[in-house]
Point group: C2
Chain length 303, copies 2
């Protein structure tokens, strides 16, 4: 048994999925859970996201061997402070946040002396809240652990075994490097999607109804990403600011070059880029990180 | 019977899907097809994309009541010139191109006196070629007709009935307005997706392998779009240049504002935008232009 008692703080998409995944994959392990929102606690109890929903975070962690914070990254510090007095001495503290350097700092500052091994399961959907989670969310997805330099190797191994039990592939990485990688593979794509959806909804010469009707041409994929949880993403951009701005600078340089190619009618430059980008897609499908079916079954050609 | 004999010029994703959709929805209608690439003609014959694959475009259109050009928009003029001598006088000429003002001009210049009613079914996948098409591609998707001012209303109605028979909803629009609307809902999303995928594959501090592994965080949706046919998209940007540059200008203004909000740590501005963008998503799902299932069944939580 990797852990016998796990506390999940925050019962939205991620926290709920952790609870359900533990129930499915680690029989005999009991989970306690807490969410600051009473309505979320109520839904969590109804859906059985954890073995026991607690009325306070302190109660939830009181006997935990592993505590996982599943709150927006900007709320990690406060959530950790709230359990500081109740945390068992040998408990392992982790999280699921999308930016890691800032979270590591916040957790360690709030819980001096605690065993902290931050983690980021790279998985999610555009849905959020206690009704959004499902047990298989982490299956075949990568979970990145970012242990501080002084982390106990045994604690890191134990947390890796936990995520593997939930179906994830585990990778270990420096927090700063994680933040740079995820700025590219996740944060900038979200920022761009939010922007274009915002741009499209503010036009005067194209109505919102037209944008919605003709979204099948590509736009709708951006709206899915841009429907993600606003608080979670606000916090990601505020806590991973430097890496996001760095990558955004490179993106806008490339976009400016493409804009110039269009203005000049440079078809060769366009064709060259549009050909190169196909390779990455192929690799992603080959490595099982996406589905190659046309339209992912979104069109109804299979009915 | 709307049309008894239909010629499809170009047998890739769109042309192949038109042929298959006609076979399924218009029994008794025969289709002829041509593609400039002999290998595509061979595959088209094997898959039965049309009733008869012809060795020349002239042969394909010789007895057609409707000719649909399904070639990249930059190739429309040449493809139309190739059939100019063989086109029956009363045949209706149309296409499926993604930019409409330029295509209208090219078709009318190549086929003076012909009945030309351009069309754009807003449907597609990232796959291309003769093996990519399927009969249900157009079902519940919008098809925009952009008849010139002097178009015969009877010809427009007939073409509308044709697309409705294939399962599409039909809308009629001015070509210039179409080009502006599609710049937002399709061309700019593709341009952005191609750019970010290109940016990500050229980084020195983040490896390509890392980009692929952690693509589930949002990036993979962009790679799907950026795997679309390079020639088709090169031509779209070259032929819809003004509308694309106009919309790109608005997008980069908005992106710059968001960049400033991140730099200044203005969480309220970020949260405000991230909340507004959720509404559009809801409308798209409500109107049946996308699927609300988490991850569209891409994750394997349904297995």
């Amino acid at each position: 048994m990797i852990f016998r008692r796990i506390a999940v703080i925050g019962l939205g998409l991620l926290g709920g999925s952790v609870g359900l995944a533990v129930a499915e994959n680690l029989p005999g392990c009991t989970t306690t859970g807490f969410d600051a929102d009473p309505e979320v606690r109520r839904r969590a109890a109804i859906r059985g996201l954890v073995s026991r929903v607690c009325e306070t975070a302190a109660e939830a962690v009181a006997e935990a061997e592993l505590v996982i914070f599943c709150v927006p990254v900007g709320a990690m510090g406060a959530a950790a402070s709230a359990i500081a007095g109740a945390l068992p001495k040998d408990a392992l503290v982790s999280d699921v946040g999308s930016s890691k350097a800032a979270v590591t700092e916040a957790l360690r500052a709030a819980l001096p002396g605690a065993i902290v091994v931050p983690a980021h399961p790279v998985a999610g959907t555009e849905r959020s809240g206690p009704d959004a989670g499902f047990a298989h969310l982490f299956r075949h997805r990568w979970c990145i652990l970012t242990p501080p330099d002084d982390a106990d190797p045994a604690a890191v191994s134990r947390l890796a075994a936990f995520w593997e039990a939930l179906g994830a592939n585990v990778e270990i990485m420096d927090a700063a490097h994680h933040d740079l990688v995820l700025a590219v593979t996740s944060h900038i794509p979200h920022l761009i999607a939010y922007t274009i959806v915002g741009t499209a909804s503010d036009l005067e010469d194209v109505t919102r109804s037209e944008v919605i009707k003709y979204s099948a041409g590509g736009f709708r994929d951006f709206t899915r990403i841009a429907a993600s949880d606003p608080v979670m993403w606000r916090d990601v951009f505020l806590t991973n600011r430097d890496a996001v701005l760095e990558m955004l600078g490179r993106f806008t340089e490339d976009l400016t070059a493409l804009q110039r190619a269009i203005r000049r009618g440079d078809g060769a430059a366009l064709h060259d880029l549009f050909t190169r980008t196909r390779d990455i897609r192929r690799s992603i499908v080959e490595q099982g990180q996406d589905d190659a079916r046309p339209d992912f079954g979104r069109s109804d050609h299979e009915d």
